[in-house]
């Protein structure tokens, strides 16, 4: 998919490519966007409406794949690959593992409404959220147009329209130079998360005070 898009983009880039190649690239970008949008929305609605948690997790995979498709469409190659590997490959597997481990893969009783008026209120809040986002987007003072310290997304050789670096290379350079300290902090965060998961999920043994008492009562070797 990436190779095809790249080839289409390369065909559209030089002016001698003609208008048909431009139209083809235009149409392909729109096609990828529409397919990705449909996949994302179907998956998201499925997550909300499916009754079996396993089906919800599979619908989540669909949505995450659609997001990766949109990343490809916007030339964020590295993030698309990471999206598939980390989200669809690791996080959803973790979800499925916990669902199977706890044995909660039974259907949720959706007919009964535990809180009175919860569903209409949820719909009202959802519509209000959408309207709020729209209103905020209409107030056009959110971007000044100035660049951040991170650098441009597209770099060209001086005087030409030839890209001088791939997306992966640029992102790597940015993360390992400008964002080096946050990057190192993420490693600490991951170690903390692993330790926390082990501590939380471990079956609880005797507490320390009990353990000390038992050792006191035990005969000396």
């Amino acid at each position: 998919m990436i190779a095809v898009l790249r080839a289409l983009g390369a065909a559209a880039a030089p002016p001698i490519g003609g208008t048909s190649a431009v139209h083809l690239a235009h149409a392909s970008a729109w096609a990828v966007f529409v397919v990705g949008a449909v996949v994302i929305l179907v998956g998201a609605v499925g997550v909300v409406l499916m009754r079996n948690p396993v089906h919800c997790a599979l619908m989540l995979v669909l949505t995450l794949f659609g997001i990766a498709l949109e990343f490809v469409d916007q030339a964020a190659d590295f993030l698309a690959a990471v999206q598939i590997i980390v989200y669809a490959g690791a996080i959803v597997i973790l979800f499925l593992f916990v669902i199977m481990f706890l044995g909660v893969d039974r259907k949720e009783v959706i007919g009964k409404e535990p809180l009175k008026g919860q569903r209409p209120l949820a719909g009202v809040v959802g519509v209000a959220l959408l309207v709020e986002v729209y209103v905020l987007a209409r107030v056009r003072h959110w971007t000044s147009g100035a660049h951040s310290v991170a650098g441009p997304l597209n770099t060209y050789f001086p005087g030409t329209k030839t890209p001088s670096a791939e997306n992966v290379q640029l992102l790597g350079q940015t993360i390992y130079t400008r964002y080096l300290l946050p990057f190192e902090m993420t490693s600490a965060l991951l170690v903390i998360a692993v330790v926390a998961a082990v501590v939380l999920a471990r079956r609880r043994e005797r507490v320390a005070s009990e353990m000390a008492r038992d050792e006191q009562e035990a005969p000396a070797p």
């Binding site: 949008a37 964020a76 590295f78 989200y87 939380l200 999920a201």
Partner: protein, 101 residues
């Protein structure tokens, strides 16, 4: 690369709204967690879109960090859910309304 960025932003807003409504509607803790993931992904899509619109690599770097934090969050969250299920066999958020140990 010819789709206007506004379309991606509309798509991200819809995805965020669906995730928020799902979080309010569902009672299974695991499914609520999945809805949070939906909202996170909507924001990621927004970041990538703005990175393209403003020609700035900072948006994509932010998405990278969001991915890492989301992974850590899922690990800790699922650990908490496993611990809750160990204590009581409740399957919904309503069963854990007391904070007694």
């Amino acid at each position: 690369m010819t789709v206007p960025g506004a379309w991606y932003l509309i798509l991200a807003a819809l995805l965020f709204t669906i995730g928020a409504v799902g979080l309010l509607l569902r009672r299974n803790i695991l499914v609520m967690f999945m809805c949070v993931e939906l909202m996170l992904n909507a924001v990621n899509l927004t970041f990538v879109t703005y990175a393209r619109m403003l020609n700035d690599i900072g948006g994509q770097a932010t998405v990278f960090f969001v991915l890492v934090v989301a992974a850590a969050e899922v690990v800790v969250g699922l650990g908490i859910i496993v611990a809750i299920y160990r204590r009581r066999r409740g399957a919904t958020a309503d069963d854990v309304h007391t904070l007694k140990g």
